[in-house]
Symmetry: C2
Subunit: 486 residues, 2 copies
């Protein structure tokens, strides 16, 4: 069994995931990582994160947000100021009790999220309506002590961005919340090629301390859901807990309305599980650290002397055209081994040049998104650059199309039939159904299906109408998706 | 006293620094920051850090380094593997004793630096000489519990990059160490406009666990030295402590040779103190978040109607030309107030447009590096873009030139005369003198001058010669700089 053999995805999705995150060189093996539940993100994995960071950061700045940096440590007393917030995060906290050789008077918490410490700063920075909106974002590491961890999906430390904004009115805060949800969806769909569904969380599933939580929900290759980003309208909960006030145009004191929103290294897990196949990763070209790899093929030195210069010239031209390119000139490895290697790493396109190609003035281009002969084409060398550029767009679109088709074939609308509903959800599919949103109703589904609501999608198929809640039978005004989730 | 009045730099440099870091909006007031010794970096300060980060990251990648990410937490036992290392860092550690509601079996340290946890990973990642060199870098936050803190200069948490590399030979490690020192010096000189001196640290001043430490030393506006970046040849110290080995071409096991190197948010402190004046910051154009500010001047609405469109058009053209530009259209503030404001923030250039300018088709351009009339010129509006672009280069060069002239006027060569030597160093100047490097000699200077050696400069004025050590009188082969330092 070669190094690149993995458990087939269809056989054991979970084992497949655990193997390919390591074999594609995204992270160090979790068993060998010496800090419980923390990740070592290797360069290839970190480059994907850099792509995500750049893509989001650009969108944040274009919409008037500014980056800042707040302390890693948060006084325990801050967390306790918002009752729901501390209740939600208390079980996951890492606590610093000693500093500089002494026991601290008040223990610090390693930030699990920064609403509290940023709320405290906002209360000092905001005086009048002229200071609003205040649009901040922070790129940071956060810590949530997790029992069962998996690279990217659930780790005790992870990297993320957390936006924190303050506004004069509820409507302004709501508009910001939706704007950021739209930005996340735009990024997920157009850069990560993941056809996420925008929606609102149920009261049970909303962020600890939020007035309303919105989410982009993605379907993974095993049918499970993954929350790939969230945007919260915090109402005045944190403004009241931290006394974030402003004087309005009439010189009256008012509490602000705040929001927060975040995307984390979890997005990498989403990309792996939305697109990967039995051969490894399939990375969307816009986020792929290497967009195309040139593999020169030779059997002996005289062939190498003919092939290598042509391959290198092609590589140089592709780089010049702006393609993130690698040329694999490693010796002592067969072309087949190299193909497997780059397929495992999910490189969207491979350009092969052998002695015959040199003779014919051609090269072979193989797409990662279409396996075998169907995804391979022979092209005149002079046309390789143009073709690769076109194909990168096609692969990007192809991955989104495949993921969308897969998603749509696993979405089911159910009205009234609870048995059918539980069958669908238990079977690992998504059910869209009328749902009252009550805690008891959601608890019953959780017990029956080991699943909770993912979201009330913003696009309601029967907007303005109502139907029988799948649990209570009472009229419900919105439909919700239910599915097992990561 | 207006909001922009600060203690003059010449009167009390320290008070001046503490005031302008807050008044120029780089950080939140340390007294109000709720976490002892940690910084809140505000957007304007963080943008300077983004400029530093981009400038360095580009240079790292161009020399083959890759970014990765390692855990925030380090097992206490890891730190103890390298004796000097733990001794150096033990007094400054923050310790996590509880996670997820339970006491941890082994306490974790919040990373003060990552040689140990990265050394452990290297021991797993490196097998053969083919895996070398391994060239890693990490952008991260680190924590060192400090008693007395000042924003950017000494804080319990700070942001930095830490490079960590492994090599097959001592020479390779040494070449890497010097390459990174050169990159730091290039960045400091050409982007931050700080004429740093490259040199080697004495044995007493080298990094805890290093074989040899190199530094870029900068002179601040009060004559004190600031270590603005360091590059360490770690020899085989960490390779032996963490068993980082490779098999060489003869299939023999060998220990690697490793390096580490870092630049932190301290660089922002260096920029403030190297260039700032009584009016506030003076930012080098290459790192300034705002390179030029357009200030339209009007007294009433009819003037505003004439001036604003012209100012806005100029602003648009400057932006289009790639200038990081801000236009200050705030109402109810006098032009003088706005000038003070942008001078405090160190914006390199100001473009003023008033009703008379509109009549004459001109604008006034004022340089931040040259005060008063001398730094001001009137330019035809059609020439503003070209002139601003030229002047940005001139301001960049001007700041470097001013800092270099200041530095050179405070460097003194002393041979043999210990009284003169102590007088110079105690007086806040730099003395370059023959120095044996012995611990006792350095301790005596420390007692007499409250200063230690800054470095043995790489450029020795009498290379190949020797002279009498300033303390022992014994022949010394190198001269060293001594100065009080931050």
């Amino acid at each position: 069994m070669s190094d690149y053999a993995v458990t087939p995805r269809s056989e054991d999705f979970s084992a497949w995931y655990n193997e390919i995150v390591v074999k594609s060189d995204l992270v160090d093996s979790p068993e060998r990582t010496p800090v419980r539940g923390c990740m070592i993100i290797k360069p290839y994995g970190y480059e994907i994160w850099e792509g995500i960071r750049n893509g989001l950061d650009q969108r944040f700045k274009a919409t008037g947000h500014q980056n800042a940096y707040f302390p890693l440590f948060i006084p325990m007393s801050f967390l306790q100021k918002e009752a729901d917030h501390v209740e939600g995060f208390a079980p996951e906290l890492a606590v610093v009790t000693h500093g500089g050789g002494k026991e601290l008077e008040e223990p610090y918490v390693v930030r699990p999220t920064s609403e509290t410490i940023i709320g405290d700063a906002m209360s000092r920075w905001i005086q009048s309506y002229r200071d609003l909106p205040l649009l901040l974002n922070q790129w940071a590491n956060v810590v949530r002590w997790e029992k069962r961890t998996r690279p990217f999906l659930r780790t005790s430390e992870f990297l993320w961005q957390e936006g924190h904004t303050a506004h004069a009115t509820f409507d302004d805060a709501q508009a910001e919340t939706m704007q950021m949800l739209d930005i996340y969806a735009d990024f997920a769909i157009n850069e990560a090629a993941i056809p996420v569904i925008k929606g609102q969380k149920s009261d049970q599933e909303r962020f600890a301390g939020a007035h309303a939580s919105y989410t982009i929900e993605a379907m993974m290759g095993d049918g499970k859901a993954l929350q790939a980003g969230t945007s919260h309208n915090l109402g005045q909960n944190f403004a009241k807990a931290f006394d974030i006030t402003y004087t309005d145009v009439n010189n009256e004191p008012q509490h602000c309305w705040t929001t927060s929103w975040g995307v984390s290294t979890r997005m990498i897990g989403a990309i792996i599980m939305a697109h990967g196949d039995d051969k490894g990763l399939r990375l969307p070209p816009r986020l792929a650290p290497i967009q195309a790899v040139v593999v020169p093929i030779w059997k002996n030195e005289s062939e190498a002397a003919v092939v290598l210069p042509v391959a290198q010239e092609l590589a140089a031209k592709l780089r010049e055209a702006g393609v993130r390119l690698h040329i694999d000139t490693r010796e002592g490895l067969s072309p087949g081994f190299k193909y497997n290697d780059w397929e495992m790493r999910g490189v969207p396109m491979r350009v092969e040049v052998g002695p015959k190609d040199v003779q014919n003035g051609t090269a072979a281009i193989a797409r990662r998104d279409i396996p075998g002969r169907e995804g391979k084409q022979f092209v005149e060398q002079s046309l390789v650059v143009a073709r690769v550029l076109t194909l990168l767009d096609e692969v990007q679109a192809g991955l989104l199309q495949q993921a969308t088709a897969f998603r749509d074939s696993h979405l089911h609308e159910v009205v009234g039939d609870y048995d059918r509903f539980t069958e669908i959800v238990r079977g690992g599919e998504w059910a869209l159904t009328w749902f009252s949103g009550e805690a008891e109703a959601e608890a019953k589904i959780k017990e029956d299906c080991q699943a909770v609501s993912r979201c009330f999608p913003l696009e309601q198929p029967y907007a303005g109408q109502s139907g029988p809640c799948i649990v209570t039978g009472k009229p419900a005004t919105r439909m919700a998706y239910f599915a097992k989730a990561y």
